[in-house]
Amino acid sequence: MNVTSGTKLYWLLKRELWEHRGGFFWAPVIAGGIFLLLNLMGIITAEVLGASHGIQIGANGGLQHIIGQMDAGDMSKVGFALDIAMYSAMGLLIVVLGFVVFFYCLGALYDDRRDRSILFWKSLPISDASTVLSKVLSATVLAPIIAVIVGIIVGILQLVMVTITLSFHGLNVWQLLGYAHPFRVLVNLVGYVPLYVLWALPAVGWLMLCSAWARSKPFLWAVALPVATGLLVSWFGLMGLFNQSPLWFWKNVVQRSLLSVFPGTGSLFGLDGEGLARHAGNDLNDMGLGLMNLSSTYRLLASPDLWIGVVIGIGLLAAATWFRRWRDEA
């Protein structure tokens, strides 16, 4: 039987999924479930309190009447609000995903050295480069895509929950759902993944390098090295030895090497101050577009920060591969 490198990579990814089913799949599912449960509790609380205080929102089809009166601009605002309901589910999942990817990368090339199962993996005809590649792809593509799919399902459930609640107050469910843009939300979220790969690369590279290099406690090394360097830089900065502000180091080295695995940090930190100011100046609708519209997030592609990070990330991964190949545990 001939085994192509494509099949090998596919099975290597599958292997990562087997090992990290808990982090990659169950963590977002449970987070999403908790999110829905909290929302449901909130809605029930609101309904119960509303009823007991005799507040009848939109009784006798009042709300429906209002919607009937809306112009196109108002409808897009309703749609936007519903989209936000879907995105909000993603918010929690993104934080969970960030933690999952962070710790996955730290353990990726360390855990099997600790339990010595590396000797089993190394007894198979698989190059160390494809092992590392499969782990990078698991962290930057596989895990985010699973999170997005779970996020979309949770988002749709959330949307349904909100519209059904509103329908108790006389609104037409289908009409409301028509205002939302689940497919646009889906495309935006999936479309964010390639950008995430590029943005997360320096952090993934750094964490995996620590994972492949550290003889013990990769977490400590990964966090302590950049933070300690940052403190040193700040200290020298206090004495005016550098022209650059120490903030630059914290933002571009410490932050990128550790926090870039958190999705969305690209949009928050990556854009220049001018861009953010321009967004802040606009109204709610554009602000929403700013954070959630692909063309806007992809403006990051034009920033040299991103590409410098990609180059450094690839360099760090090459070093991680070298350590994976030659680290001798004797």
Binding site: K8, D115, L119, K122, S123, P125, D328, A330
Partner: protein
């Protein structure tokens, strides 16, 4: 046929100590080689060098590959079981078989399933739920289904009970080994491999102190059971070891003619463990 492994001037240093010190040897196909040595003698380092897991100086050719440069190609023809605990604890039997079946070009799934059917292993069982013996059974099932040219076993039966240990070597001989395969095994339980070995290598302080096939070992080394009255005569022949048993003395000779020895008393072939103890005298002193 060309040699499976040719090593010339192999050296490896860890800080102060030499794990391998200018070692040279050749291993021919179709052999079962026992690599025996005390703790820290360099056995594992030698195996790691062969598997391309560690850097070294000198020349090493394994199945025509340089293990440092072409490790992933080499691993298509080489299998190894390094210790009992090396299978990842999270993996299920089914997953392990699936994975190896799809990444290893020489894996025969039917053979693996047939072997697993003879064990108590369940497809959904995880390694962490297995006993040590079961883990080795799974590992052996995976390895025996691979048609490799070279199999390397580093303490494969460590920590197993005697039933598993016997079964392990029996399976290896009956279902796996043939004239196209070569096995290198290191173990401290010398008595168990003694009868299956075709070649013997003793390693001490990073050097090969004995490298011979079993037939020549039998010709070279002779044990003689000597009565007390002739013990002095035996000592004249410079035995490499002597020990007392029931008022008699057992002498171990290296390269003394059999006729001479038979005059002293009853001769027999020494066990590998006795030979080992005699050769390694003073290792830890």
């Amino acid at each position: 046929m060309s040699a499976v492994i040719t090593a010339t001037g192999l050296s490896k240093h860890y800080k102060q100590t030499a794990a391998l010190d200018d070692v040279s040897f050749r291993i021919e196909p179709g052999r079962i080689v026992g690599l025996i040595g005390p703790n820290g003698a360099g056995k594992t380092t030698a195996l790691k060098a062969i598997l391309g897991l560690t850097d070294f100086t000198g020349q090493l050719d394994v199945l025509g590959f340089d293990p440092r440069q072409q490790r992933d190609k080499l691993m298509g023809d080489v299998c190894f079981i390094a210790d009992v605990a090396v299978l990842p604890r999270w993996i299920k039997v089914r997953e392990a078989v699936d994975f190896v079946a799809h990444v290893h070009p020489r894996f025969d799934r039917a053979k693996c399933d047939a072997f697993l059917a003879r064990t108590k292993l369940q497809p959904g069982q995880r390694v962490r739920q297995m006993s040590k013996g079961m883990i080795v059974q799974l590992h052996l099932a995976l390895v025996m289904a691979i048609d490799a040219k070279l199999l390397i076993l580093d303490e494969p039966t460590l920590g197993l009970d005697i039933l598993y240990r016997k079964q392990f070597y029996q399976n290896l001989l009956e279902d796996y080994f043939d004239e196209n395969k070569t096995i290198i095994v290191t173990t401290h339980q010398v008595e168990e491999v003694e009868h299956i070995l075709t070649d013997l290598m003793f390693i001490r302080d990073g050097r090969i102190v004995l490298d011979a096939d079993m037939d020549s070992v039998g010709e070279r080394f002779v044990e003689v059971l000597v009565n007390a009255d002739r013990a002095e005569a035996a000592r004249q022949l410079k035995p490499i070891d002597e020990r007392q048993v029931f008022g008699k003395t057992i002498f171990l000779f290296d390269g003394v003619s059999r006729a001479q020895l038979e005059a002293l008393g009853e001769t027999r072939r020494p066990s590998i463990s006795d030979l080992f103890v005699a050769t390694m005298k003073g290792t830890y002193a």
